[in-house]
Subunit: 204 residues, 2 copies
């Protein structure tokens, strides 16, 4: 029995927080099973045993529910919108700066996301979808048609590694570095993954 089923069988939720928690548990399962595109608000609400209108009420919609399901900061989609509005040639710089701004403010939240995704396949699937579809995939697909999935995945290697070193493994030179040092050092590498020459298409 999944956690969402177990929650539902325990009976109808009384308070709003119960509804919210049931939706999150259901969302984690459905997003992991069906992907972000495949999952529907109706299906998630049904598995949680609550009305679909509660998704809008608590999370503002499917996107907000997904962000909450992986415990990412709620402002991430809005930040990606802002990154997309500026000069494509400096998107890497905006991404590095936003990443550090968001996660520096959250204390141990990055470590919690990574630990969860490193130990549970459901959480890993959510994080992969978040990184490729909602964060780097959205940015890359606006910038180039050359292997967008590979580019988004390469961006993920750099940024997850930055987060690991700053927030989880806490390497002194990365943990204590000021933002400008890291932006100047890392942004050109991220920009290359976004729009630069990443080599010929490999024969398979």
């Amino acid at each position: 029995m999944t956690e969402a089923e177990s929650r539902r069988r325990r009976g109808r939720r009384s308070g709003g927080e119960d509804t919210r928690a049931a939706l999150l548990a259901s969302a984690r399962e459905v997003f992991a099973e069906q992907g972000y595109q495949g999952a529907t608000v109706r299906g998630i609400a049904a598995r949680a045993g609550v009305d679909a209108a509660m998704v809008n009420h608590w999370f503002g919609g499917k996107q907000g529910l997904f962000v909450a399901a992986i415990n990412a900061p709620a402002e991430v989609p809005h930040i990606i919108d802002q990154i997309l509005e500026g000069d494509p040639d400096t998107a890497g710089e905006r991404l590095v700066r936003s990443f550090l701004t968001v996660w520096d403010a959250q204390d141990s939240a990055f470590a919690a996301v990574v630990r969860s995704a490193s130990s549970q396949e459901t959480a890993a699937e959510l994080l992969r979808g978040f990184l490729t579809k909602m964060v780097f995939g959205r940015v890359v697909s606006r910038l180039t048609t050359d292997r967008p999935e590979l580019r988004a995945s390469l961006c993920s290697t750099q940024m997850i590694g930055l987060g690991m070193m700053r927030y989880v493994l806490r390497m002194p030179m990365i943990e204590s570095a000021d933002m400008e040092t890291l932006v100047t050092a890392i942004a050109p590498n991220l920009q290359r993954y976004l729009t630069g020459d990443i080599g010929p298409i490999s024969p398979r």
Copy 2:
């Protein structure tokens, strides 16, 4: 009481495997407390309650003991030697290729190292020392005198992130990519961290 102390109090080791395990437990503590440079073979052996000659017998010396203590493949120091022998301008390519060759062959070993370092401070300290002193620090210090510690740490962000995506979070585009695709895509970024322009020295 530390694990090494606890092991010692349980009495003298009889078999060789016990000696080896006692040295590994002691090494993890002493390396984490005193760093790789500060730790001595004599001190590690004393804490394990065994003769210092056993370090050479089981691990070939301090370096081999350190590599075993973090569960890295024993051939890593030799591979770094080979990377240092070639053209400095292609060191990034050799590092990415060697990284993938070593860890692709070890199945879940990379994930085990990272999970351990993500949950225990002692293991994290060992991994930081391994990355900065034994792997990237050794390479960087041969190539440049410009902020070698920062450069080694930046290399760590990229390579730990690559390992996270290929072996732990298993993002399909990175997990299934052939070696040449990843080397071509990632090596220039690593080379920039090793020898390229990473920006001015930040005023502190």
